[in-house]
Amino acid sequence: MAVEMLGYIDKPSPVHRLTGTTKLIGFILFTTATMFTYDTRVLLVLGLFSIGLFSISQIRFKEVRFVLVFTAIFVLLNALAVYLFEPEQGVTIYETRHLWFEGIGRFTLTAEQAFYMFNLILKYSVIVPIAVLFLVTTHPTEFASSLNQIGVPYKVAFAVSLALRYIPDVQQDFRTIADAQAARGVAVTQGSLLKRARHSLQILIPLLFTSLERIETVSNAMDLRGFGADKKRTWYNQRAMTRIDYIAIGIALSLTVFSFIVTFYDGSRFYNPF
């Protein structure tokens, strides 16, 4: 069971020096912009921007390669499914039809479909470098304080922080239980679907009770230390905003405004070259 998950990677880069709050605001703005737009020009600009930002973060490609491969497979499979279900979705969207190949039966290939699928893949891909960057350059404990700073109640922010804190522990529990059950001949990685589902219960139940016990212990410890007594709380990892933070937020904000203007000035979120 390979442990390949994204986590914080420490580097002395300008992106790392930004406060978590700045990065969170930037991430939210960027996600919003890419969510609304389907304009090829905007997507290309945002894509170039996110690749540029990635390169100044000093994160090397090979450090996050597994996630990018995983995502690439996922995005391509999704695009394939879109084509299989609706080979002429592009024609519906762009309202013209330039046939390239007649194909077999309903599986034609039109310029519009090719362009639509290019945009679909682009739309999914653009967000990935930024999201990955956000994850690997923001320390988990600072992330919680950032959530609180942008207005999320501190109890919820603390829950997020707990989740990040306990992922490795729960993973360890899961592995111990799975190994113990495997030693007894209860395997979840092979056999029929039904058998695997039945066997997975033998892991789920011990994991459930272990976790409930953990919840009990941790919440008692927090209660004993007076957690939740006040309406507000301070964060050990919180840093003050500096000039570079305001500049970064300014850039993110203007990029978002730009993308909304270009996307919606002609009344459609699609860029139509046909």
Binding site: T31, L68, V82, V170, R269
Partner: protein, 183 residues
């Protein structure tokens, strides 16, 4: 937020961590992209009944968003929202089942299953596809088929595995009012 107890906060955090681990290591793929038999939803349904709608809604939201972020690099928001909705919806029956007090009757099991089926059907067949169309302009028939597959497999998963979790847990609780004064 003041009624959000420390125990619920911790249950949210650790619950989200368990949700992530289960989605990552205990999911069985079905062949349709983005869709697999998710034991994580059986767990989510259990937490909903034990800790109520706010905790479970947050476990769904936080767990799914972090899972997507850690594994794919970016959250798939349309489905993240549905996970939150499912936790919230199932959690609404927590007060009527009172799992802490044991005594899980057949009536309560039926109530649980009827609720989870309705909530998940709305979530996966209505909310998720509509958001996919609005955000990603994906073809309607593709997202509705995906939604229907997800709904079927998740309703079955919660119906079988989720119910078994509830029954197993209820057996460990001493029933309210089970003590009698000796004559």
């Amino acid at each position: 937020m003041n009624s959000f107890t420390t125990k619920q906060i911790v249950a949210t955090g650790i619950g989200a961590a368990v949700f992530i681990i289960l989605s990552r290591f205990a999911a069985i793929p079905t062949g349709v992209p983005n869709t697999s038999i998710e034991t994580a939803y059986a767990f989510l349904a259990f937490m909903a009944v034990l800790f109520g709608p706010i905790t479970a809604g947050l476990i769904g939201l936080i767990g799914h968003a972090l899972k997507d972020a850690i594994l794919y690099g970016s959250p798939w928001w349309s489905w993240v929202i549905v996970s939150g909705f499912v936790g919230l919806g199932i959690g609404l029956v927590a007060n009527r089942i009172r799992l802490e007090e044991g005594g899980l009757t057949t009536k309560k099991i039926i109530l649980f299953n009827a609720t989870q089926a309705v909530v998940q059907a709305i979530g996966w067949i209505v909310i998720a596809p509509v958001l996919d169309i609005l955000i990603y302009a994906e073809p309607a028939n593709k997202v509705f088929v995906q939604g229907a597959v997800a709904a079927t497999s998740n309703i079955l998963t919660v119906g079988v595995i989720g119910t078994l979790l509830l029954v197993t847990y209820a057996k460990t609780r001493s029933q309210a009012g089970s003590l009698k004064r000796e004559a």
